[in-house]
Subunit: 190 residues, 2 copies
DNA sequence: TTGATTTCTTAACTTAAGTCAACGAGTTCA
DNA sequence: TGAACTCGTTGACTTAAGTTAAGAAATCAA
């Protein structure tokens, strides 16, 4: 399973023996059953995850309704907003499927950065890349209609619709479930 | 002016003599007149900016219309999406006011990281903090109505409305200028 | 396998944003 | 100074999402 992590990192850097060692050393995997809540609203977070297999959803409640923030799948990094902080979480993290993850925590992280300074550099690069992607996603969202957002989702995350409930997709797209249902109908009859 | 940069960095780390030296060494300031285009669609980017004073707007064209992505003001870091890459920009960067910035480029950056490894660690932390803020902003946007977004903007960026045109604010909020005008009217009469 | 529950769809109605067009207050500049 | 622009506002109309309610379809559990 370390292979999956190394494969991911190789997108950003040339994988040296040293990096391989670092990954093997810190690799701590865990499997969760579908439905497992990894983080609850109000609790603290000392874990971040790299998804080897499965799907994790982050969501929170607003006006009594569940709002899905993000779906994380294979090769995604999940860092809770309050990871390593002493502030309670506004969000939930839930396994939408049986999920295998590489678990990290602030202590391991610090140790690894000490021991392998290149890792810190790598983390900076990855954080910057993710930030850029996030910006593009946000821009795309802002300048699209709900229908365009749905079509875009089909393109950018094909297969997701088969993996999660439609009402969760709806709030992810910023619309009500009834609207998503109509959007889908509209698209079919076009 | 180096003070401003150091003050910003002190939000994230304790400012050592070494850090001070690093900042002084790499500090390269520039002043632009209102209306200056720092980056054009189709061109390459070798500069990033830390705003000491003034306001920069990023935008692009979609369906023949200007869409404002972000307004950057004092103490904000502006990193073009294609910064240091060999891909052409989809975006424009424009000074909305006379603006003073600290200019960075990939070469300086690399040198500094070499010379002061703590800087790289600091950059990682800052990138992660900005990423988290960005996520929260996106979530807020997704789960709000245009009216709520406008009220939120007044709270989170007070004064911005006095600094930039209303039609630019409108596309930033994801609505048409006419709608923003109506939203403002509605709020007054409530 | 069947009964309960959850999820999805449909319909009727309301609400607010988009569209198109016009107008007035500034601003620019020739 | 006055003609041309830009920007914000308003009005009439269109369109699509929200709301509420009901029922069909799919899923889960006893």
């Amino acid at each position: 399973m370390e292979d999956k992590v190394l494969k991911y990192l190789s997108n950003y850097t040339s994988t040296t023996k040293e990096l391989e060692g670092a990954v093997k050393e810190s690799a701590f995997f865990k499997t969760y059953k579908k439905g497992t809540i990894l983080l609850k609203e109000g609790s603290f977070s000392n874990e971040c995850y790299f998804i080897v297999e499965g799907c994790i959803r982050s969501y929170f409640f607003k006006d009594g309704e569940e709002k899905t923030i993000e779906f994380y799948t294979e090769e995604d990094v999940v860092t809770p907003v309050n990871y390593g902080k002493s502030t309670p979480s506004r969000y939930y993290l839930e396994c939408v499927e049986d999920t295998v993850v590489n678990v990290g925590n602030p202590t391991i992280e610090k140790e690894m950065y000490q021991k392998y300074p290149q890792l810190e550099s790598l983390s900076r690069v990855i954080a910057e890349v993710i930030l850029t992607k996030q910006q593009e996603t946000f821009t795309e969202f802002k300048t699209s209609t709900p229908e365009e957002r749905y079509l875009n989702l089909l393109k950018t995350k094909p297969g997701l619709l088969q993996r999660v409930s439609q009402y969760q997709i709806a709030s992810y797209l910023g619309v009500k479930p009834e609207s998503l249902s109509r959007i889908r109908k509209r698209i079919i009859h076009e």
